[in-house]
């Protein structure tokens, strides 16, 4: 519950500009529109998280990405505070896919090994059970008591193969990998 999520230290290394970074973002699915952001700030002023977080500012993150502040963007904990409500995307006068660009940045952070623990947890649950949560036995018994039909089960052979093909293995707890 930190008010100010940890930011990477501002040393010369973190502040180094990497002009190729924006192209890396733009080639991902829905990342192309990063280039047309003209910094009006409609995203930040529409953002529900920005009202309560002292550090999360979508406009700032987009500008840092355009400039090529690779490490400062990808190592920032605030990147993970987007609720994916898509209000920014709806209100952007430049039709920047703001929420999607931010998602591309989070996906890139994961590729660099920056993975908040919750996502490892959720991905591992899906890999192991098909569901995103581990549903306790007690719940399944209660379903029967309530007269609800049994829960459908995933064919896990299909699910785990697809997760691996899509590059999801790095998200899994090592114990889960079959």
């Amino acid at each position: 519950m930190a008010d100010k999520p940890e930011m990477p230290k501002m040393n010369a290394e973190t502040l180094k500009l990497d002009p190729s970074f924006k192209y890396e973002v733009m080639k991902e699915h829905d990342g192309e529109t990063l280039k047309v952001c003209f910094q009006c700030g409609s995203c930040t002023s529409s953002c529900p998280t920005a009202r309560f977080s002292t550090s999360y500012r979508p406009r700032t993150i987009l500008r840092m990405a355009q400039l090529g502040l690779r490490r400062k963007v990808l190592e920032s904990q605030t990147l993970w505070l987007c609720t994916a409500c898509f209000t920014c995307t709806d209100r952007c006068p430049q039709n920047v896919e703001v929420a999607n660009v931010l998602r591309v940045l989070r996906n890139l952070a994961v590729k660099k090994g920056q993975i908040p623990g919750i996502f490892t947890e959720l991905a591992s649950n899906i890999y192991a059970t098909g569901y995103v949560y581990k549903i306790p036995e007690m719940r399944l018994r209660k379903r029967a008591e309530l007269g609800l039909p049994p829960l459908p089960k995933a064919n896990l052979d299909g699910v785990d193969k697809l997760i691996e093909l899509a590059g999801g293995r790095k998200l899994l707890k090592s114990a889960e990998v079959r």
């Binding site: 991902e28 709806d90 996906n107 919750i118 959720l122 991905a123 064919n155 299909g158 697809l162 997760i163």
Partner: protein, 294 residues
Amino acid sequence: MSDLRYLFFIGCTIPYRVTNYEVSARKTFAKLGIELVEMSDFNCCGLPVDPASHEMMMVLAARNLCLAEQQGLDIITLCTGCAGTLRKVNRALKEEKELRNRVNEYLSKVGMEFKGTIEAKHFIHVLKEDVGFDRIKDSIRKPLAGLKVAEHCGCHLLRPTKIFGWDDPENPEVLKGLIELTGAECLDYMDEPECCGYTIIAIDDKVALQLTREKLQHIKMAGAQAMVTVCPSCHLMFDMQQSRIERAFNEKFELPVLHFPQLLGLAMGLGPDELALGDLRVSPSKILEALKIV
């Protein structure tokens, strides 16, 4: 065979901790002639892992869409997150050839192929577009006259407008229209289409709970006696987290939060037990007394 036949995509959150939503939905859908076909195989819609891996989200969603295509049925969900994700991926795979080829390459390894032959719908789309307001109106036996409620539709049914575009994201009207069929009055309130905060509660609960708290404040200010949701995750924030918010901010809300099928069920004349109202964390007894139901 009913013309209102759908493949029922239950998702993960409802069986995990919001069973009363499912109970009330099954009861009310049956009264409207909606036939739910149970899935024998399914997996998480993919949305929870999208922030970490868009590719993983897409294959998970695509696998569910393929299962529905094999059955030749449109999907119905009770969750805005599941509906939004399946609808969004379905559309992207139908429209973007390169993406479809890539995903089909993965799917071929498990003997599946995305063809683009079905639709994925949230039940409020089904109620508005397929069942129709007239049929719902005919099912009302005990109009909830005098009851004032506020709606929360949930982000993933509204935005991005470019993808959904079936309601006004700045002033959503579909759920409001459905609520008014029950005889209850649906009040406007400040920042009505705003997010509940659920998606970031595991990242920063302080920010997430402040979003929820602000919505509860605005709804109380408007004078609502209850709130109505159509998503298990939004419901967890407003109902299950409500007492935690009250303690954290030293503030009282005592605002019952009903799943829309529970509200509709009461208006159809179903009893509170049949609709599992006893499973709500915030007791709805005050509104039931006001409606002379108990």
